[in-house]
Symmetry: C2
Subunit: 99 residues, 2 copies
């Protein structure tokens, strides 16, 4: 079962509600960088996201160095953004530290 | 207290004992990519490395997407490779899945 890719209008509407996220240049993914107090906090956050992502069977692409985590969300089956990315972004925003 | 950067000879000797690792093009880091059965296994491995890294206060730079983990080890205080990278690489090799 393939997952529907958001239309341009749906994508714009979703991004309007996700101020922490930027559209990747190719328009096929959203990206957010988060900073934490130290590695322990950063990896603790990653662990919470990992457990949730595995439950949803929808996983991030992410890079971590020390207290910084760069997250990219995209839906390979949809070849772009889907509602799954928006939902995982909302979960991440809900546990992200205040900017 | 700064950490000594490996000499070229020390670096070559260390790499000879770390066959899974490649020297980054600039010579300042070592890199290994690992594949797992799925995300759960990949993140379980990352968690083991994270706990050990935080104990050592020496952290990897790493990227994960689904079952793949790309690890870069370098020592910022040494502006290159140090014994700390070699030691963490050995720990990682000890818990990495058989190739």
């Amino acid at each position: 079962m393939s997952i529907a890719r958001l239309t341009d209008a749906e994508r714009a509407a979703a991004l309007g509600t996700l101020p922490g996220w930027n559209l990747r240049e190719d328009g096929l993914a959203i990206v957010r960088t988060l900073k934490f107090g130290d590695f322990n906090e950063a990896f603790g956050f990653m662990t919470r996201v990992a457990i949730e992502a595995d439950k949803r069977d929808h996983h991030p692409e992410w890079f971590n160095v020390y207290n910084r985590v760069e997250i990219t969300l995209t839906t390979h089956d949809a070849e772009g953004l889907s509602e799954r990315d928006v939902a995982l972004a909302r979960f991440i925003d809900g546990i992200a530290p205040a900017a």
